[in-house]
Symmetry: C2
Subunit: 117 residues, 2 copies
DNA sequence: CTGTCGTACCACGCCTGTCGTAGTATTAAA
DNA sequence: TTTAATACTACGACAGGCGTGGTACGACAG
């Protein structure tokens, strides 16, 4: 069965997360659910991968963390919102994706290598 | 300037190399030149990356190394030919690429994030 | 009132692939 | 004789992903 290997989306986890923050802030658990449903269960991000991406991106200034004000119950959630730098990074990554796609597809052929010719 | 980051094609260097071996055996230097020209200078694989990919793929049984018989001069070249397992791996990677492309593109939007909305 | 499940997060440390640096060796041109 | 192109190798650092395991809360079952 064909499934996505981690090396492939390695460079795009950050982009995927940023995409889900474009419109509104969110938090880890919600984002992981969204990735799962939006990808139609094709890609399920690992928790550690997700949270380490948060840490890294906050350090890089692409996102900012805050706590929900009307959080009265004990469940503490760390929300993240995208920064301007994050939006820029996202845009850049989208451009890069187009280029990468072009390049990779020069080396992908449906007919060739598939079976025996 | 938009250029391909190593993390992005990380999972596809092996695939790219295998593609260039589908029709005929080749060797490191030639393959690196072909990647450069075929990608229109967009992607230049690092030597160390290339040669370590060879080692890894030979260990995995995707390629086999041999020396050119009519090598009369001193320049020793290690040629590689793709194996059946290698062809299978390539085919699988092509299928995976399609899936990855679908998934990633759900999180890529040209209009969104580009600028300010 | 104990157990389990779902939510929400974090620390630690390993693994793999990439890449920087540097070195060897040959041939051909300048 | 020095430089450039060809052809390859060794070594070690680094970053991102991920396995493992732990904390903590609420809800609901038995």
């Amino acid at each position: 069965m064909v499934s996505i290997s981690s090396d492939v989306i390695r460079g795009y986890n950050d982009t995927i997360i940023l995409y889900l923050l474009l419109d509104k802030p969110s938090y880890g658990y919600e984002i992981s659910k969204q990735i799962k449903t939006l990808s139609k269960e094709k890609y399920v991000i690992k928790e550690t991968t997700l949270y380490s991406a948060f840490t890294r991106m906050e350090k890089n200034g692409y996102i900012e963390s805050f706590f929900d004000e009307d959080m009265s119950n004990g469940k503490r959630r760390t929300y993240y919102r995208i920064t301007e730098a994050g939006r820029q990074y996202y845009t850049d990554k989208c451009a890069e994706w187009k280029l990468t796609k072009e390049v990779v597809e020069r080396f992908i052929e449906e007919e060739k290598g598939n079976g025996n010719n």
